[in-house]
Symmetry: C2
Subunit: 335 residues, 2 copies
């Protein structure tokens, strides 16, 4: 899922996300949109779909992750989390119920429950304590959602448990009892070694219903996507394709192109000769390097279009391999 | 003409310039492209048209204006102008012949001769001296071009003369003898009062061939465009629509919208209800304000698309009014 934190995928217009990339779903950020422009403003202006002219699906996270990563002055109680705006310092409270209300105002198709995102590394006791609270909050959030459920949206609970397999299992088993329309695996990509993220995913996914989406939050590198799918992931989101694009790192079928390198100065080839994106169909590496060096914002747009295409192409290849029953072969070829 | 200084119109893809805006010609900058990525690099990569994937017309200035505005250490001789790169301090020389060579390498459709751009205000003697040199350089540039002329491009001499009507007249008369395919009026928008820019244009245009394009360089505000046309201008270029867009100033049929103002916080209307651009068809002022406040680069793209559409719409209205013989009425309605 391309990431559109503040109701915009940086550098790419909604029509290009649709017509060029054929993205089916994008991600918005509850914390950021709650603070600015405010969820009531978004609701008045047609929800996120109307506000940002995106007619396809939107998933919003609960804001929990940002409350924990952008706020040093937060205070957690059983009721919820008190935090200060990173924009102006104003105090706000997120509760399991209020984050659902905010996401309903945003008009999300897939909402996330409020979870406690614990730092890494965490002690076993801290992780257990935090995971149990995440389960209680998930129950409250889903109960609250049921009062507003029109059958057209979903709320996903989030499996936490830090890097402790037994906590992950216990959390997953308890959340499955909530009979949600889909499940997420959170608390990964928080600084742990990458094999550990895969291991936690592998432990968790078999416990989640196979007939419902399983969403691994915040991963991953292009080469990791097939690995997560092999472990049961149906959905992933990551800022990497767009953020790396803006920093001049382009993903290709033959590895990365760091566009500022002198070797691309006169390189007439497209970034990726096997890619069909607008950037690769029309522009040379030399042109992209020139734009990057000249700090032209058009670079960010062209690079993001390409990197998102690369990610979505990988997911399309994966779906195709699964459909024709050749996923093991595909995975081997990737490794 | 939309301005694409460094082989990119900031924030707008070439396909959008073509499909959305139907721009027929854009402007590139010889000084900037000479320094980076270098005209020989651009030549190798298919000229500016191939390099930036723009199949329609390209006009390049001679670089004279930037040499004078970006360089404090320049040295002018009869041969040309010695200057230091604003990027790394390297010394370079532009001569009337070399700037044509650079523009031929860039593959411009319309090239400009090297001119001396004198500061404003200038004494009469300094202006006369400088204008005479500009005429001599124009002769040299055009003679040089004749040896490379394939009949598919043009070189425009530039009328200078500071704010002295007799110098403007004298310069225009001498340049007309060169029998060029079009003419430009330079040395305006250099800090003089706006009525004076119009007066200098009005003095000059009647002396230039009516059957060839007359290009007033570096103007103007939206409300000024009909005034320049009324005085004989066929072409204009200006960074205002794109630069102001990025700074949050949007031009509409009812004046300017400064998007950061609180009054637009919940404003569901498009920027300009009479505008058919992608931005106005799909997004509210409230959304654009949100993007501006959140410093999302998508703001620059949407705002630039709108402002360029506004400018090109004005020029389309002007052409239509002229074609149906109602230009005086149109002009009165504008005032």
């Amino acid at each position: 899922m391309p990431v559109g934190t503040q109701a915009a995928v940086k550098g790419v217009l909604p029509r290009d996300l649709m017509n060029d990339l054929d993205a089916k779903i994008i991600l918005g950020n509850t914390y950021h949109l709650f603070l600015r422009p405010g969820h009531e403003t978004v609701r008045q202006l047609g929800g996120l779909h109307g506000f940002m002219a995106w007619p396809r699906a939107i998933l919003t996270d609960s804001g929990g992750f940002q409350v924990f990563s952008l706020n040093s002055l937060r205070k957690i109680t059983e009721e919820g989390v008190l935090f200060h705006s990173h924009l102006n310092g104003d105090p706000h409270m997120f509760t399991p119920e209020s984050t659902i209300d905010v996401q309903l105002a945003l008009g999300s198709d897939i909402m996330m429950v409020l979870d406690e995102c614990i730092e890494h590394p965490a002690t076993y006791d801290a992780a257990r304590h935090s995971t149990q609270r995440t389960v209680r909050w998930a129950k409250k959030g889903l109960e609250h959602f049921k009062r507003h459920d029109d059958g057209n949206r979903a709320v996903f609970p989030i499996v936490q448990g830090s890097m402790y397999g037994d906590l992950r299992r216990e959390c997953a088993e308890q959340l499955v009892e909530l009979d949600a329309r889909g499940y997420a695996i959170g608390g990964l990509s928080v600084g742990e070694p990458r094999p550990l993220s895969l291991e936690m995913t592998e432990i968790t996914t078999p416990l989640l219903p196979a007939d419902r989406p399983r969403y691994v939050m915040g991963v991953g590198m292009p080469e990791e996507l097939p690995e997560y799918v092999a472990r049961g992931a149906d959905m992933m989101d990551c800022v990497l394709p767009s953020r790396n694009a803006r920093n001049g790192c382009l993903f290709t079928r033959n590895g990365r192109v760091l566009i500022k390198q002198t070797q691309y100065k006169d390189d007439a080839r497209p970034v990726d000769e096997g890619c069909g994106c607008y950037t690769c169909r029309n522009f040379s590496r030399a042109y992209l390097r020139h734009l990057f060096q000249a700090k032209e914002m058009t670079f960010s747009t062209l690079a993001t279009l390409h990197n998102l295409q690369r990610y979505l192409d990988i997911m399309r290849e994966i779906r195709q391999a699964i459909l024709i029953g050749k996923y093991p072969e595909y995975l081997r070829a990737c490794r």
